[in-house]
């Protein structure tokens, strides 16, 4: 369920590091807890984000939830497909529905995140 090569936050975001870029998304558990996602607010390219601070938000039919940046850095690309098709987040949260790519400025921050086994345990606890 939760890819081994991702790192996870306690707030249910994931990041997959490719070189000095982190691809960021929300987890399967997050989309399931939110229910039907109908709106995604993405940061602008060029925005500097900080680990643990808001990156954007997603809205389900019922409610708004903040998304927190799992790593600090500069947003270099956002997934525009989600603007028209936010429901992709329900269908493929670990793949096609990535949210943003961030150029990492402090890779050592990855040590603050959970690995797949730790995240799995967190989800088991919460559900």
């Amino acid at each position: 369920m939760y890819p081994e090569d991702f790192k996870y936050t306690r707030e249910h975001e994931w990041v997959k590091v490719e070189g000095d870029v982190g691809v960021v998304g929300i987890t399967f558990y997050a989309q399931q807890a939110l229910g039907d996602i109908v709106y995604v607010d993405l940061p602008k390219v060029g925005t500097r984000v900080e680990q643990g601070k808001p990156l954007g938000s997603v809205e389900s039919v019922k409610a708004v939830s903040d998304i927190y940046a799992p790593v600090s850095g500069e947003v270099i690309e956002v997934n525009e497909a989600l603007v028209e098709k936010p429901e992709l987040l329900n269908r493929d949260p670990h793949g096609a529905a990535w949210l943003a790519k961030i150029r990492l400025n402090s890779p050592e921050e990855l040590n603050n995140l959970l690995d797949a086994a730790q995240y799995q345990a967190l989800v088991a606890e919460e559900s």
Binding site: G35, D36, V38, Y39, S57, E59, S60, V61, K62, A63, V64, V83
Partner: protein
């Protein structure tokens, strides 16, 4: 919210078995969704959906003075009901604000059956007792009923399989005491979705079996168990009020666009004097529907701006799954409340454009009944 442990309906375990996600609502632990709010919403608009709404409260009023008490504590005219007929009504404080909205069913000349909101039921009961100078018998009957709502264009065909009662004879806002699955049931053609459908009142011990049987009977139509999430989006599209949102103790019926359930000429009732004063002074704010023009979703409590000034607030807002728009209801000063006005909603630190529109947002095509 009331303190203490959350209450559960007799169907709680069944909801878990059906995969429901449970949430707190008005002191109750209720299913918010089983599969997807959007799919459940569309099932009700296009086919049929089944809700456990046993958290709703029931109050029975009996005796020769039953009508006198009902007329005194509610705003609509109960004396116009025939036995087997229901009406939407409200209970007000002396100051004219809402105690609750409710359905009044006339069972017989000396027996009225009230269906009230879950979180208000104890308050409603105390309110009625307080004004019971007629010495009618008032019973807090919530524990004697489960309430199931079967809603959608296929509701009648679904229910028909489980009852000998002639459903075609039950017109909208009418009810009959019959049987469903061989057990006594009050079968009312009422609902909170904007669709045709039924609300069934049964003894608690039959709730689980009747719920299961209804799901089976509706299988070929694509019936879905539906949670409070879809119940809320459905009622919003139909512009039906939700206590704590469109109405509460600070709101009076003319403001909430609910003058049609207030019969000023029926005689004395609690709140009437305040409404007369309000009519003389003039209503200052009104509930108005809007659609988002910008890509944004308005939520309950967001501020509403006209020409840069905060002038009102959103009472309910969100996506309308059938209409495929983002809609909402808000209170605006009457001078800004006309249809077609552009307004701004304060959405999480920015202003998003919306336009006031005619309501209800959704109205089903008129057919029988």
């Amino acid at each position: 919210m009331p303190a203490g442990p959350l209450k559960r309906t007799p169907l709680y375990e069944l909801h878990r078995e059906l995969g429901a996600r449970m949430v707190e609502f008005g002191g109750w632990e209720m299913p918010v969704q089983y599969s997807s709010i959007i799919e459940e919403h569309l099932a009700v608009r296009r086919a049929v959906g089944l809700f456990d709404v046993s958290h709703m409260g029931e109050i029975e009023i009996r005796g020769p003075e039953a009508l006198a008490l009902v007329e005194y504590v509610t705003t609509n005219q109960a004396s116009r009901l025939n036995a087997g007929q229901a009406q939407y009504s409200a209970m007000l404080y002396e100051h004219g604000g809402f105690v609750d909205d409710l359905l009044v069913h006339k069972v017989a000349d000396d027996h009225y059956f009230l269906c009230v909101n879950a979180s208000n039921q104890e308050k409603d009961y105390r309110h009625i007792l307080r004004y019971n100078r007629f010495r009618a018998e008032v019973e807090f009957a919530s524990d004697r009923y489960v309430q199931l709502a079967l809603q959608g264009p296929r509701a009648e065909q679904t229910l028909r399989r489980l009852t000998a009662t002639d459903l075609t004879a039950i017109r909208y806002y009418h009810f009959t005491d019959g049987e469903v699955c061989g057990v006594p049931a009050r079968i009312a053609r009422t609902g909170y979705t904007g669709e045709d459908g039924f609300e069934l009142y049964l003894a608690p011990e039959h709730g689980v079996r009747v719920f299961r049987e209804l799901l089976r009977a509706g299988e070929e139509f694509g019936i879905r168990p539906c949670g409070l999430g879809a119940r809320n989006t459905l009622r919003l599209e139909a512009k039906m009020a939700l206590y704590g949102h469109e109405i509460d103790a600070s709101i009076r019926p003319p403001e909430a666009d609910l003058n049609w359930i207030v019969k000023m000429d029926k005689g004395e009732f609690v709140g009437r004097a305040a409404l007369e004063r309000l009519a003389a002074a003039g209503v200052r704010r009104r509930l108005v529907g809007f659609e988002m023009l910008d890509r944004a979703i308005a939520r309950d409590g967001y501020p509403v701006y006209v020409e840069g000034r905060a002038v009102g607030w959103v009472t309910s807002g969100g996506p309308a799954p059938f209409l495929n728009k983002n809609i909402g209801l808000c209170y605006l000063p009457v001078e800004f409340a006309e249809i077609g006005r552009t307004i701004q909603i304060g959405v999480r630190g920015r202003l998003a454009e919306a336009q006031t529109v005619r309501t209800p947002f959704y109205k089903r095509a008129k057919s029988n009944p």
